[in-house]
Subunit: 213 residues, 2 copies
DNA sequence: GTCTATATACAGATAGAC
DNA sequence: GTCTATCTGTATATAGAC
């Protein structure tokens, strides 16, 4: 039965950093592999190379440990998708870069694992969903909306409602790749690549919001 | 501790139909409320108004019962989003109807609950994600792509790659409403309604894929 | 088929020695 | 702070009577 656990085979990681850091990292790996409900403190202690009592000496319980992990990951991922300077590029080229970076980030196994586990536990930890959403997608939306506003101000595009348009753009990029990957379905049966999807969506977006004369 | 269970207060439903059907329905409610890991057979038996042994007389175990529920729900929801006749309508009007029906369906609490629980358990039940995806989103995509192809054939739009365009359309409709709701975040802070999002996306879609002269 | 009562196992958390 | 050993609750699953 315990062999069904995806984290069952995790080796204790080599000693490095303090015990607290080791426990945090082990917990991250176990929670991501097994989910909150299936993860157990024995596995975390074993993966960290410490005893269970030591885990409890550093963290008051399973839920607090979980919340600590998610908060840590939110901070980590909010640093991603950093601002670049797109002002010297064509809108198409800039949106292509933005789209590809977005896709690469939100479809990565690390980020997907984080989302999957938080979605699963919204009932138990309602605040974590909000934290994750605000540290990730909401920031990306705000930045894209600002960029679209600047394009409009400069007369390069005509985007009357940048916040709606930003949602449309990222929505197209995610399309159903996101759902598929959340479900663990391979891209093989889609018929198109993510790069194709980004290219096509950028073209389509620019055509829809081209400046009219 | 057991009071934290969202299904703890579920009443036994009034006798109706056979025991097997009662158990299935009770299991559906408990699994949806608590998720697979937190749901327990005692709660299901209690909600069904039978003993735990009776549950096991009808279903071989928790996992098999869960799979039965999900399969049932997939069938149920695959009947939704039925085909209508859009041929006599303008593309805008038809896409508006399609978009609204899609949004209403995929953002409904029932469907979201189903998705949330399946996403959470992809590791344990990999085949359920595929079943759900194919019975829902994939069918909707296929039907929309067909419709877009017909519009192109009739010269009303110019959609060179209907399968990509269909993904773009539904992606825009979902946008981040989907993610927000999976996380249990209210729409209040979005600033726009789903209806606005659909209207805006239909306009934008039609402009991008308008026939060129 | 359906019940009550129970076997068995495992997980979260802690006691107490060092 | 860290360990070993253990307490305690609870969950899946079943035995055995009716």
């Amino acid at each position: 039965m315990s062999d069904r656990s995806a984290a069952a085979a995790l080796e204790p990681e080599p000693a490095e950093g303090g015990k607290a850091a080791r426990i945090l990292d082990a917990a991250r790996r176990v929670f991501m592999a097994d989910g909150y409900g299936e993860a157990n403190m024995d596995a975390i202690a074993k993966a960290a190379g410490v005893s269970k009592a030591t885990v409890y000496a550093h963290f008051s319980g399973k839920d607090q440990l979980f919340a600590a992990i998610i908060g840590q990951q939110c901070k980590l991922h909010s640093e991603a998708l950093a601002v670049e300077n797109f002002e010297s590029m064509s809108p198409e080229a800039a949106l292509n870069l933005i789209g590809r970076a977005f896709a690469e980030h939100v479809l990565s196994p690390q980020v997907l694992g984080l989302y999957r586990i938080v979605v699963a536990e919204t009932a138990r930890f309602p605040e974590l969903g909000r934290t994750l959403y605000e540290s990730g997608p909401l920031r990306a939306l705000g930045r894209l909306a600002e960029y679209l506003q600047r394009l409009t101000d400069r007369g390069l595009l005509d985007v009357p409602e940048p916040h709606i348009a930003a949602r449309q753009f990222f929505g197209m990029i995610r399309s159903d790749f996101y759902l598929r990957r959340l479900f663990g379905i391979s891209d093989a049966t889609v018929g198109i690549s993510i790069e194709q999807m980004v290219d096509s969506s950028v073209q389509m977006f620019v055509r829809a919001y081209a400046k009219r004369d």
